[in-house]
Each structure stands twice: as C-alpha cells, then as structure tokens.
Symmetry: C2
Subunit: 342 residues, 2 copies
DNA sequence: TTGCTTGACAAAAACCTTTTTGTCCAGCCC
DNA sequence: GGGCTGGACAAAAAGGTTTTTGTCAAGCAA
C-alpha cells in the first residue's frame, strides 16, 4: 500500500497526496480532507525507510546507556524512568528511541558506538547521559552537527543543551541536615570521580561543612561504583578508622543500603549510633529497615523535559543555550538518620 | 561520502562496490580487498536510511517495555539486563534496538504501539516481553509476518519462538525448601494473574504442596503488582489471619522486601518467626537484613539467547519452533528463611 | 570455428518518499 | 489585450542503497 496506489485511487498526483498528508499550504482544504480520509480508510502508512531517505531524517533519537554493576550488565533503573519520559514526549511527534548499551569502562567501544550512531546517520538527535567532567561525546556530537541534550552538566567552552538535577544543592541539604543533628564527622560515599554529578555532590558537601567552619577531610570523601557492594566496602573502610564517622551521605540509595549493611555488621544501630542518607528515593527506600532518609527528584519529568528540548532543537525552534534546566531536589526525611551520638 | 564517490574514487561501478562490501561471491578477492581498504581509508559508511530502503530491511529490533510501579513510570530493572544481552548479540550483526514504553494497563495504547511498530515497517523483528496467558501481540506479529521471540511463554495453538525461565521449577524448589524446613502454612505472594509467569509460579507452588499431600488454599495465593508496596499490603492482609502463614514465597525480590517490612511491623523476626523467599537475586538481596534467600537466573544470558534467536529467525536459518529455551533457575540460600516455628 | 559456460564487472531498475520546479488557469490591474 | 499574481495541482528530481539483469572476454568442448 504505497503512496502511488493511494494517489491512483484518489486520482491525484503523488506529490499532492504527499503534501496533503504533510500539512503543506498549497493544497486546498477540501482535497486535504479527502486525502486524509481515504488514507485512513485504506490503511495507508508511509514507509518509514523511504520517508527517512526522502526527508533526510531518521526520526530517531539515540541514547547509549551506561551499564553498571559488578558484572557490568545492569543499567541504573533511574534511566528507565528517564527514557520513559523522553518517549512520552517524542513518540507523539513521530520520533522513536534507538537505544544501545555500553559496557563499563570501555572507552574505545563507547567512542565507536557513538561514531556509529552519529556519523553513520542512524539518528537525528542524541541524549547523552551520565556526563563526565570532561566529556568527549559532546565534541563528537558537535563535529557531526547532531543536536543533543545532556542529562547532567559538563565542562565545555561552548554552550550546550543540558538538563540536570541540582546535585550540589541536594548534598548541601543532606549534609546540613546532618550538621543540624549535631554530626561533625560526616563521610561522603560518592560515585566515580570522573562523572560530573560526583563533583557537584562533593561541592555541596564541602560547602555545607565550610559554612560551619568545618574543614573537609579528603580521606573521608570516597568514591566507588553506584552499587551496594561499593557502598558496603567504602563504609567498612571508614568505620575501622578512629575516630569513625557518625554519618554517611551516599551517592545513591543502593550505596546507602550497602553502607547500612556495613554499619550493621559493625553492630551499629542505624539512625542512632550512625546516620545514613541516600539519594534517589528508590521504591525500596520506604520499605527497608529503618526506612531510608533520601533525596527525591523527578526523573520521569526530567525525561519529558529532555524530550521536549530535543524536539525543539531538531526543529531549530531553540538554541542549545536555551536549554538549561536545573531541577530542584527535595529531601525525604525518614528514619535512617538521627541526632549524633554524644 | 556516498557510494557514488567511493566508486568513482576506485574507478569501479557502484554495483561492484556495493557487492564487494556486502560479501557477494561475484567479485574477485583482489577487488574486494581494494574496496574494503579504500572504504575504510576515506571513512565511507553506508547511509542506513538508503540501505533500509534498498534492502527492504530496517535493521532494527523493536521492543515495548512494560512500565510498572505505582506511578507507572518505572521499568523492571530486569529488562535492562535482558536488553543488554540482546544488544550484545545484535549490534555486531548491524542491528539496533528500537525501544518504546507502555504505560500500565493501557491495552489500547499497547495495541496501537504494536501496530505502529510492525505494520508501519519500523522494525524487522520483535521482542515480546512479559507475556500474558492469552497474548494478542503474537497474533498481531504473525499477521504482519514479523519474526518475533517472546520472553516468557503463552498459550498459543501455533508454534512460536520463546525463551523463558523455569518459573514452575523455581517455585517448586522454593516451596519444597520451605516444606523441608517444616513449614505447612506457606503463602504465595504472586504477580498479576494475567501474566503467564504468575501461572507457572503458582503451578510450581501448588505442585510442591500436592507432593506432600497438602491441599493448597486459594485464599493464600494472592496476586499483586511486582512492587514493594504490593508485597507489603498482600503480606499484611495475610498476617492478620488466624492461623497466619509462617512462610511467604514472593514473585520478586521487591515484593519480598515489602513482605519483610510487613512482617517486621508485626514484630515477627525474619528467618525464625517467619520465612520469606524472593525471586531475582537483585543486587540488594545480599545486603539487606537479613540477607534474602532468593532465586537466581541469568537474565543477561537469556537476552543473548534471544538476540541470537532473532538474528537466526531473520536470516531464516531456523524456524520459530526451533527456539524453545527454558533456563534452569538456582536457589540462593541466605538468611531470610529458617525452620518453621513450632 | 561455433557454442556454451563461467568469472568479473557494469548498467539499470527498484525501493518509496520528500522536495523542487513546473504548469495552468483564473483573477486582477493598467 | 498584455502582463502580473497567486492558488492548486502535477511532473520530475533527489535521496543512496540493494538487487536484478546485462555485458564481455576468457576458457573449454565439440
């Protein structure tokens, strides 16, 4: 059921049918309606491949998800929500999501995948997630003139479109809360240093300490994978020091659960002997014991923002510099933190 | 950098260049090598859109992920691993993954998405996940002559390609373990009845009870979403009965965590007063308190199997009936279960 | 020599749109 | 009446491959 048949069926030319369906102005309202109705009636759907070739657009947005976990085979569930938001916005506009995955710490493959996506002409736009402090992907995308939005900021001398959560504010908030509870020995169980979110979080933590005239101790600011395992090990390594920390601010809920496990092994009571704050408000955080004090942000809504921004960039309605959305974060107080032990 | 330029550059015809790059036999080895080398040298990449139109293939595999969670915005993290496995296999073959998402309980949208994917010619093959007992998607895919592999089985009068975990065996195993520990009042905290995996799990549970001459009580076989919240509520509703269950077999680790929370609220000690077994061996299950006894299966590897099967189906090397892979499941004993209280 | 096969390459068709350019006619102004 | 404008549609080009069909010379048998 090609456009040729539809045109023949209507007694019109191919071009008129095409223009009618694509909303051009140089086709009369009566004709347009006739075309649209008949197309629907006989179930005509334009062939995406031909449409892509003809229009020079792929109608696809590319995203490469970073695999994490000890086996390098899992994906942070946060990205599911993010992509859900993106899809919600782009699908009504006829765009689809082309997803790939990238093993952990495999820079060569990462670049190859990226090159393939953008230079190979697979996608019209890109979503770049888990930005690094210095992120080569931006240069690649720019060189290929492929519009993109990053989820997370990075250091760049040129304007770029980004959506991010206020990591610095979040960790300032969490650390301040612990300070207010009387804690003075607060450890930071952070994500990998290379990622910019980790830098922002550290900055928030340091700023909060500094505002109380406390000097941050670098040996209490540790980095690791965003996993329970890493949280567990980092926390354990901190707990054997003397004096030991009385509180932990963790980069993710997963890390916090690992940290809690380590505290428990050290026979510390969570929420009284030691305080732990997570990040992400995972579905589990309300049901664990004790319920986890954590930071919530609206990942799905951020995804929608990203999707809208991508569409507008593709339509050249806005410039990359116009997309700077910093989402506020709220603290969800539960029971995993409490007054510092005296 | 089109194939025209490359051909001109080589002094060959377009067709010879195309056939050389695509491994046809009617081009001499010397010429082929020359073409491949030059293509690499000048960075020629075939335009995917043109290739798709020319060959009548999209080089894409479609998958529609089921959104879950109370907000309907999250995706079971299991699918990340599954898709990781799929991507690992199909990308070297030049295929990409086109992903969409589907809100919970939105049958109309589900069908529309599916129709669009297959009738609209967006993909060459499909991965159908979270199969229902009666699943209309199979008919749609068959009608459109789109090859597909299901993850999970379903009731169908025609052969179809499926990959599944041995849910029945898994729950037989878990239930038997609890029976061996002396439990007699074992509740099943299952997923939504419409999904076939829930049926298999119930069957395994029932079979295990029957093999000990125990009559399964339907009011102890509950269904709910695969979330902590649902696990929590279902378990709570069971605990207020008299006599109350002494053990819970749960459809996912998430449900198990919810169940554990409910038990704790009832002041029951997990692993002694009451036993809980999960499913999935989530990364958290080893770090919670007590560590969760659960069932492990190799989702990533299953994804690889799915990917390979899809490629072979697309190449018509095998028939759907040749793809019947039932993955065994292993129990990971930890501390959330123990001897029945007397 | 003729006719057939085969190997290696080339020409052209096909894939199905979108976009650009062209046509034609009615209406209008001077 | 000549020339211009604009509305509505049509013709043709463009997009870059793959696939089908065609060509031509070399090799070989009868």
């Amino acid at each position: 059921m090609s456009i040729v048949l539809l045109a023949k069926n209507l007694g019109l030319s191919i071009s008129t049918v095409s223009r009618a369906l694509n909303g051009y102005e140089d086709v009369s309202a009566a004709t347009r309606e006739r075309v649209v109705l008949r197309a629907k009636a006989i179930g005509y759907r334009p062939n995406p491949s031909a449409r892509r070739l003809g229009a020079g657009k792929t109608l696809a947005i590319g995203v490469i998800l970073p695999a994490t976990g000890s086996t390098g085979q899992a994906v942070d569930s946060m990205y599911s929500s993010l992509l859900g938001g993106v899809v919600t916005e782009i699908e009504p506009a006829g765009y689809h999501l082309m997803a790939s995955m990238q093993a952990k710490h495999d820079a060569a493959r990462e670049t190859a995948l990226f090159e393939n996506f953008i230079r190979g002409g697979w996608v019209d736009g890109l979503l770049i997630v888990r930005t690094r402090v210095h992120d080569a992907r931006l240069e690649l995308a720019r060189a290929a003139k492929t519009p993109f939005v990053t989820y997370g900021r990075t250091e760049s001398d040129q304007p770029y479109a980004w959506v991010d959560t206020d990591n610095e504010k979040a960790f300032h908030l969490a650390t301040t809360r612990l300070l207010d509870l009387g804690h003075r020995r607060i450890a930071l169980v952070n994500g990998p240093e290379e990622y910019s979110f980790a830098q922002f979080r550290r900055r928030g933590y340091v700023r909060a300490l500094a505002s109380r005239k406390l000097k941050p101790d670098p040996t209490w600011m540790l980095h690791g994978d965003l996993t329970e395992r890493a949280g567990h090990e980092l926390c354990r390594s901190l707990l054997i020091r003397r004096p030991a920390p009385t509180a932990f601010v963790c980069a993710t809920d997963s890390m916090a659960f690992g940290a809690i496990a380590a505290c428990r092994e050290a026979s510390l009571s969570i929420g009284s002997d030691v305080s732990v704050i997570g990040y992400g408000n995972s579905s589990l955080s309300a049901f664990c014991d004790p319920p986890l004090t954590t930071m919530e942000h609206q990942v799905f809504e951020n995804g929608r923002y990203v999707g809208r921004a991508l569409l507008q960039l593709l339509r050249k309605e806005i410039q990359p510099a116009d997309v700077h959305y910093l989402e506020p974060v709220v603290l969800v107080p539960r029971k995993s933190d409490g007054p510092a032990p005296q």
